[in-house]
Subunit: 431 residues, 4 copies
């Protein structure tokens, strides 16, 4: 029997709080889960700094990756298998891409990508194609199988239906993370009737479509996503931690460039500081490593670095004020001056952070993250774009919502031992 | 107003997936949560190595500590307050002891305590009484308040009712962890009707007692605990990770004593290796630090240390066989010899691990962990020990169950490049 | 102690699957629950014919009434009590009105009200003010207390805040039924974070308002309501049963007027047929009585009555087709003629049914069911109408959605033994 | 295609709160659900009088029957199909037997069977084999198919494995009702990990066996069952309603025999009173009919009948005292005399009610309800009876628990207008 068709003697399961059980019967999947690159995802939180706001959100990307795999497996085995529009030869490809889609994520990805200017998706590709355990397993399936998996994840694959199962406006990725993040944070917003959505999914050449009878379940899913963004993912307290984290990385990079003498050599970081990260270095970076450095940097002589690390480790975060850039840009300039006068470096201690989300859109040609609209399969076999049928979705379609906040260290400003008057002015402007 | 009586302007809540919300109105509690010693509990998993078996079990002791606090708060505010047998002056003491009861836990406590011979409870006491932020907050309540809190946690307090709320056979600690660990692992075993148990709890001088009408809910709780022990806490795969973890620590300590030259100075560990741990060193130790060292130790030249670290980090665990010491001690001796012959050090690679639990007991005088039996409050006001009323509890009362397993590296034994015949002999004995 | 202040010796609880427990400490509430008029609500399903679509929806109005009471109790005792804007003297009035707000509902209320031209709210009032056990209990509180309770339920009370807790766009009634109906049907749509909404409710003279920080929870609640209407309450299969039920009542009334000789004297119905219903007659009418008659009417000689009853009892329902009155009125006229030709009385067998819902509206002056908009309490103390702050709510605000369907007996039309050609024509028009 | 192999065009689902969805693909199953005999189960509560204690328990046997079908379907399609020990030709037989196993239940079965001396299982058989819609559907499968289904339900079938799936100590019937009754009452006791149990079930010729690795899940299931019996099914308040119900039926039968002139001819009951019930009469009897008669009998001139009916309809139940027959038989005799003296007929107003359950037993040869023990499938392929492996089950195995209570009308005894002294004596004896 070929490796790709090999089944385990007995089905294996992972107990999963969201899907009850994750079922594995394919040898390939079992072997992939066992690789060290996949196990590394256990050391990277799914929601980065969110656990500092919602203490339950300590779950890892390992969790989520298994969940996405399980959803795709159920779509294929329970719904698509046997339908003429679905080619079951794509099954293993789809399962592997689902399992591995987040493989290149590092710890606190967004902050790292921003500060060190790289894209985690490049590392996903590098891990799949490079000299790794994952690559070895995939190559056993076929010499070009790693490339095929990478293409699906990169959305460049010709198999559009496969791509759409993992990356679209109603994909297994989103369906898993909404439910999972809701479960671990304890909020109720992320719940929707996934069972129903799975049952009404149908394969078409270009994408997965949804039977019209399931439209309300899809509406509910889109509203869940909207709520999760504003209630959980963009929560201003988590954003505050994100702001501090970003500033720590900035500061360390800056110090490195200035040849600052770190008490403890930041060897895990040097290739990042130089923006020349190798795959080997990248794979070593996990949250334990980050937190180790943040702990020891609390004792660095640089006051900004040590202060920011203490804030992050001990959850002594910045406070925030609403900020409207269009109207308040002058105030911001004024605040910058006052911070300088008060001896508080505004580059690190006065930060504008913006959150923005587009709950659903039917057509965004040429945009960076161009995504297919959701199509409904009508009784007569035609396809209709969701917002033409759903008033609710139509009402929010294409409406981007953006929110800006201004973060600052309230404790510094409350300290009246120095610059009392200037601080009073600052506080007056902030409130 | 005194600090101890101070209330927050508005009640604060933490969203909690188990209790929905954790409510805080007391300034003291709020301040304690904000201390760095308490925040440190975020970096210590509640269930140590269990996440390698149940991938959802990534929650921290921070989570659990808030949960125990919330349960105690509800017992006091919703059930005990106003009853003549309860002195509400003990409220704050009880809340603080509940919140802080696990404060001295380190990462993977059991393995560390065993290898480095200390007791985390001593550190709980040290943190509460030493020069810490926690101590500062508690002292604000009163100069002897830290000592009082420490006594409750150490079970030496005269206030037996307070002690029993946090440490007894039906305490807030157990009620929280059973539910919480069930929630995060996703198993159903830890569920019981806590609402009902809380409603039927009554304060008595010596301990909390349970109204007879709630007996069945208590039976269900005891069975939940029994199931969680055998299904989750003693799961052989988690035990395997625990075995490897313990052996890593053993090996590192051994190497240190032999003046082995570590590539990377294990500065966070030296005082542990010398069994002379200071509070300051202890507080630095969290799971990030441990995992950082385990990662870099994968590159140490000592083959045993690097191999064990690779196993732990990449979840390449030992397999296990059932083992009955009474009958198979000879076989174990034989295996030791064969392992030596095969060039596999049995001290690190052939490990007996034993799990043992006593689901409930009514009387264990003089034993190390002597715990009060559960008493039922009968309609006529008398107290009766639980197992006299409940047939189910009587049936399992005092019945200790012990399980032994023999752990070994199946991959080493499967490698036929060396010692093929000896390895065959070993495998024959193990199966 | 006055009767109104009397407390039970021990708090009583009802185990409730939605709120876990319903807590009763007031003697008045306990006594009201025990009256035969309140117990009668056990024999009236909360969702009428919905159980024929969602088999779990067999729960009664008794269930729901306790739930509304419990929500109001929690709002008052956990959130409002102690706030200067809330007069706790209104507590008992509010609790009683909450408990009794549906007291006048009969079996399958909407169909009965329509056919026999009465309003169940008049009977709520009649039960509260008439010679009933409920009235006796309320009078014990004070001679004008029944009138006060009736006024709150009728929304004519001066205590607008009290009225708004029970009847507004975000009241205890809606919050209970959405969650309860979702629980019993098993759909996920009705879930929202009620805990959070309760925590952010604040009393104002005119109405309950919601702290701005809880806006997203309110959005989620409004979307839940929208989904429940279209997914559950207006489900076309339940509507089909409702259509048949209405036609049974029509037919029976018609036959009575024509002096038809019922085999079994419909004594429970006669005052309804004459549209002259006394309170005594009304209280005798419950679902058991209705179903008893529908069972025996299956054997009546009138073919329409017996057929419709068989359909309802054995769930042999009408099929439906989409219908757009504006465009298809001619088709309907045509179908009427064809039905007559085919020997199928269109008055009973060709029925247009319309469902309509307005998910939220901010201002509907002068309309029949004029309801207060939801107001948000901003940080600066001002009130702002919800749709001005929430884009989601703004998008759906005031948008009434209406749906029409045409119901017909597919089995009759499939029977080719008579009028085959005409039936073919009918089916062609219907499809 | 033969009727038995016919599939629906699209799978149909019923939304179910316990199993999420019930899936139907077989035409036969769909047709059976549509029969009027099966629809009749909607009008019979699953838990009889329990709704008077747990108000959520208003669910019908229709609900439960679909649930048992769904569990059996999942065992066959997800676990057994393809295993050599399972003959998939038995699939339809098993599904039909699962769906129809409770078909002969009437309203409040136990009370009716006791008073009118019949066995509902005879009616199950009669419905399956008689002139019914159900019979017609089954006959379409094959002329002897109805008989085969009846034999499985009657446990006389040679296909022991099929019988054991529906009637054994761990069957689909029990697994559904424990979870369902827990869900609707809202108690947590009935929860266990059914997913896990299904996964470890294996077919053997004589019965379904359970892989050893699933033993703890089975222990949990047995404890759930134990708790549900004592916490829900035997709840003394429900038993009180059951006692009154039984006494109503007794009284009515007695009056009929004495030629009492009922105001309203009890035509639905006459064949019951004569203990000569036809299938046609039986099928007419549902809870609506019972409740209709109980309502009108409140106005009968016989004081006992009207009083008991008022009690049942308005939930004005009997109180209870613990009763130990072995020790208190004399007291009972004494109470009988005192009741007679007080003018309260002890035959109807002083009732001993006994509840008894055997949580698990391994061997009960020759007993009425002889049931197979549960067997574990060991790794080596041997079978071992559960209690030999499980200490918990061993501890409770074969231990029958019985509880007796004495029911009486507390309100009559509190009425001091007559027989004050005797009543005082009675109350003294009862307390």
């Amino acid at each position: 029997m070929t490796y790709s068709a090999e089944k385990l003697n007995e089905e294996k399961v992972f107990k999963d709080p969201v899907h009850r059980y994750v079922h594995v019967r394919d040898r390939v999947i079992w072997d992939l889960v066992g690789t060290k690159e996949f196990q590394r995802l256990r050391r990277i939180k799914q929601l980065g700094t969110t656990f500092l706001t919602f203490h339950g959100a300590e779950h890892s990307r390992f969790n989520h990756s298994l969940g996405v795999y399980e959803i795709v497996r159920r779509i294929i085995d329970d719904v698509f298998d046997g339908r003429p529009e679905w080619d079951n030869d794509d099954r293993l490809l789809t399962l592997c891409a689902a399992l591995l889609h987040d493989l290149g994520h590092g710890p606190f990805s967004h902050a790292f990508e921003k500060v060190f200017d790289f894209d985690h998706e490049d590392f996903t590709r590098a891990i799949i194609l490079g000299e790794t355990e994952v690559n070895k397993v995939l190559k056993n399936v076929g010499p070009d199988f790693p490339e095929k998996v990478a293409e699906v994840i990169a959305k460049t694959s010709e198999k559009k239906i496969v791509v759409s199962m993992i990356s679209s406006q109603i994909d297994a990725d989103r369906m898993d993370y909404l439910q999972r993040d809701a479960y671990f944070t304890g909020v109720s917003y992320g719940q929707f009737d996934m069972e129903r959505i799975l049952r009404v999914m149908r394969p078409r050449e270009e994408q997965v479509v949804i039977k019209k009878s399931g439209m309300h379940a899809v509406e509910d899913y889109i509203m869940s996503r909207y709520q999760m963004y504003w209630q959980v993912y963009f929560h201003p307290v988590s954003r505050s931690a994100e702001v501090i984290l970003t500033k720590i990385l900035h500061r360390a990079k800056q110090l490195y460039k200035e040849n600052y003498a770190f008490k403890h050599e930041p060897q895990h970081f040097t290739s990042f500081f130089c923006e020349n990260v190798t795959l080997e270095d990248y794979l070593k970076l996990d949250e334990a490593v980050i937190m180790f450095y943040f702990q020891i940097w609390q004792n660095e002589t640089d006051l900004i670095l040590s202060d920011l690390c203490r804030r992050f480790v001990n959850r002594n975060l910045f406070k925030y004020a609403e900020f409207d850039p269009a109207k308040e840009y002058k105030k911001l300039a004024e605040l910058n001056v006052l911070f300088l006068k008060a001896g508080i470096d505004p580059e690190y201690y006065l930060v504008v952070d913006s959150s923005s989300d587009l709950p659903y859109d039917f057509y965004r040609p040429g945009e960076e993250e161009e995504r297919l609209p959701i199509h409904l399969l009508m009784k007569n076999g035609e396809l209709r774009e969701l917002s033409r049928e759903s008033e609710i979705v139509d009402a929010i379609s294409g409406k981007r919502r953006t929110d800006h906040k201004l973060y600052y260290p309230a404790d510094f400003l409350a300290d009246e031992s120095t610059g009392k008057d200037i601080k009073k002015q600052i506080l007056a402007l902030l409130e």
